[in-house]
């Protein structure tokens, strides 16, 4: 043993002059290699690395696929226009399996292995809630494209921001008056029995009560459920409107079973498009949806009066008139959410430019620059519409669409204003230390 130990180069006596010279030579060679020289000379030409926490597999896969396409399209556009602070953008993707535990691991991997500047892109609220503490501990800016109220509630940390998509609390407040005035006042809620669904449960009821309406029943459905008929008898017979919001692989089954159960004779339907994201409205068994209404963050179908920047956005991301991939008409997009990736990337760009972001040492400055944002004008950088950011709660507010299913497509019938969704902040992240 002693002999062996002596022969290793780690012991003081074992490190020979020849080995030391070899090591020095190799190190010098590495530094002289083209890559090192470039970054060594001009730190500013090094790419800005953004870690994209993507739901490539697991129950969020359809969203992940489109989040990725939207992100790629926006990043390409930003790079073609000269990048951020003169540096190109590099998107590094890691799959989180739509799993909170894996999400936290991915954040750590981004920080320790990929050495990214920030992490971005997550949708499913349980993954955000699972990953945000890791981002906070690592002091890693975490720009989520989720919808839950978790960010705005103040329960995350100063590094977690949501500047590109509205949250459920604002969404339900925006649509509640329209539902009460046009569809009915007695409402049954059907929602997933976890964080995102609970936001709908908790915030829709006060919103509809403020309009003189009433929630007559709440039907929570476990996220792992694959069959739903058994829940439908819980809907009271005096219900005017069924408000449904479901996510994950079983959404088509859910909507079909709703149709089998009620046919065309049931209560009015108001769905969050989550119940149908990435699903073709003309799928067999969905005929009964004709005449029903959906919330859409951004319209799936091209609208006759859409502005030029919306057409530009749709073309760049690669979706056709029906919101499906231009390469495959069966590959329906998650149009109502994925614009959030595009807009968030542009917010990151704006914040990096405002703060003169140069590297990970400026992360706190980056967050402060984001917090300082207020109005965002509609346009190529914000194709979904104008927005208002509240730096105290790290949450953006925007306009929502209510669409009606007519002849196998979704036509926007009402667009809410930013003011419809505003609420009193319950938190102030800016008072938290970095």
């Amino acid at each position: 043993m002693t002999e062996n130990r002596k022969s290793t180069i780690l012991t003081p006596h074992g490190l020979t002059r020849r080995n030391a010279l070899k090591g020095l030579g190799a190190a010098a060679g590495l530094i002289a290699a083209p890559g090192f020289v470039r970054y060594g000379q001009a730190q500013s030409s090094e790419p800005i690395k953004i870690g994209f926490q993507c739901h490539r597999t697991g129950i969020g896969a359809a969203y992940g696929r489109w989040y990725e396409r939207t992100t790629t399209a926006a990043a390409k556009l930003i790079n073609e226009a000269g990048g951020i602070n003169g540096r190109p953008l590099e998107i590094i993707i890691e799959d989180d399996g739509t799993d909170p535990k894996r999400g936290a691991e991915v954040v750590e991997k981004f920080a320790n292995q990929h050495k990214v500047d920030l992490v971005y892109g997550t949708l499913f609220s349980h993954v955000v809630v699972g990953s945000a503490p890791a981002a906070g501990e690592l002091k890693m800016p975490y720009y989520v494209v989720s919808e839950g109220y978790h960010v705005a509630s103040g329960k995350m940390n100063r590094y977690c921001v949501q500047p590109g998509i509205t949250d459920v609390k604002a969404q339900v407040r925006s649509v509640a008056p329209w539902i009460a005035n046009n569809l009915g006042k007695k409402i049954t809620l059907i929602y997933p029995d976890y964080a995102f669904g609970h936001d709908h449960r908790d915030f829709f009821e006060p919103a509809i009560q403020a309009q003189g309406g009433q929630v007559v029943a709440k039907v929570p459905i476990p996220p792992t459920e694959t069959s739903f008929t058994r829940y439908l008898p819980q809907i009271p017979s005096d219900t005017d409107v069924i408000y449904h919001v479901m996510v994950g692989p079983a959404v088509l089954t859910f909507v079909k079973e709703l149709g089998e159960f009620f046919g065309n004779s049931g209560p009015q339907l108001f769905g969050f498009i989550d119940s149908l994201e990435a699903v073709d409205i003309n799928s067999p068994g969905l005929e009964f949806l004709d005449g029903s209404h959906f919330w859409e963050g951004m319209p799936r179908y091209a609208q006759p009066d859409q502005p030029d920047y919306v057409s530009f956005y749709r073309e760049t991301v690669g979706i056709d008139e029906n919101g499906a991939s231009v390469d495959d008409p069966k590959d329906v997009s998650t149009a109502a959410h994925m614009f959030g990736c595009w807009e968030t990337l542009y917010v990151i760009k704006a914040a990096m430019e405002a703060s003169g972001y140069a590297g990970p040492g400026d992360r706190a400055k980056l967050i402060e620059a984001t917090e300082a944002m207020t109005e965002m004008e509609a346009g190529r950088e914000h194709p979904q519409g104008k927005k208002r950011f509240n730096g105290k709660i790290h949450q953006v507010f925007g306009e929502q669409n209510i669409s009606r299913v007519e002849g196998g497509r979704l036509n926007v019938v009402h667009r809410t204003s930013i003011e419809d969704g505003l609420y009193e902040p319950e938190a102030d992240y800016t008072t938290m230390s970095f």
Binding site: G58, P222, T224, S227, P233, P249, E260, F262, S283, P284
Partner: protein, 293 residues
């Protein structure tokens, strides 16, 4: 909704669950009964059946029934072939040692699941039902296809029972089950019988999956829940007992349908687990299983 219609709907839903579960559990029970192999990969054979069903049904255009029937025939056959090869390549080399086969089938589970993820993708995809008739009852509407699933499952169960009890293949299988060495001494090619039984078990799971995809959807993670429920069914019914499997599947299916509708799905799962515990304590061989010899 009034109590009567409520109960009717719960029963119908429970029967659909029972129909699919009994086919699936029968495959698991058969494999254990004859080969004494606990097949942890059974749920993935089910998933593979569903994924292939999507593939076969979208290959052809025209009426959805054509694609569905093609899937109903081909999907179980392909899954059976996969299982046959897996049995020959893996399980037979392990000499069917209980511990080794459990580990091997766990490995098989992950291999099949990851292959499905790689080649089929992470999406849930629908298969169109062969017909989409909706029966309007006075209180609610119900899918005629779901009733057809119950009927198809019954036909398949009776078919399997006839094969096991009335044919030479069934006789050979039963002989292998009762006494492997003696069967071998009488010239029964035990290895081939085992491979055949493993393939048949997988085919039954795949058949159940093809029946279910028009109701649910094909997804690479869909194998977990039915696997657990099938284990619950075979433990309650008695491993290797066909009658026990059917009775337990109906029991679990109905209780799942009725309890989860009137109370909560969590309570239904708790009751099923409790029942397993009680059966294991008071009747370890299962309700209809024979005591170990």
């Amino acid at each position: 909704m009034a109590f009567g219609p409520y109960l009717l709907l719960a029963t119908l839903e429970g029967l659909v669950t029972a129909a699919v579960l009994s086919l699936m559990a029968l495959g698991l029970s058969l494999v254990f009964g004859v080969m004494r192999v606990v097949n942890v990969a059974h749920g993935e054979f089910y998933m593979l059946g569903a994924v292939l069903a999507w593939w076969f049904s979208t290959m052809l255009g025209g009426h959805p029934a054509v694609g569905f029937l093609l899937a109903l025939v081909l999907s179980p056959l392909v899954v059976a072939a996969v299982a046959f090869v897996a049995e020959r390549l893996v399980l037979s080399r392990l000499n069917y040692e209980p511990e080794a086969t459990i580990v091997a089938t766990i490995g098989l589970l992950y291999i099949i699941q990851q292959l499905a993820l790689s080649f089929y993708g992470a999406d849930a995809r629908p298969v169109e039902a062969p017909f989409s008739y909706r029966i309007q009852l006075p209180w609610f509407g119900y899918s005629a296809y779901k009733l057809a699933v119950i009927a198809a499952s019954m036909v398949m169960m009776i078919g399997t029972w006839l094969v096991l009890t009335r044919t030479k293949i069934g006789l050979v299988m039963r002989a292998t089950q009762y006494d492997r060495e003696t069967a071998q001494a009488f010239g029964i090619p035990v290895g081939k019988v085992y491979a055949g039984v493993f393939a048949l078990g997988a085919a039954l799971a795949a058949f159940a999956a093809v029946l279910i995809v028009p109701i649910q959807q094909a997804h690479y993670l869909m194998g977990h829940d039915p696997l657990l429920l099938s284990f619950i069914v075979v433990i309650i019914g008695g491993l290797g007992s066909l009658r026990g499997t059917v009775v337990a599947a109906i029991l679990i299916g109905l209780s799942d349908g009725i309890v989860s509708m009137f109370f909560s799905p969590t309570l239904a799962k708790m009751l099923a687990t409790f029942l397993v515990a009680m059966v294991l304590v008071f009747r370890p061989q299962g309700l209809f299983g024979a005591a170990a010899r």
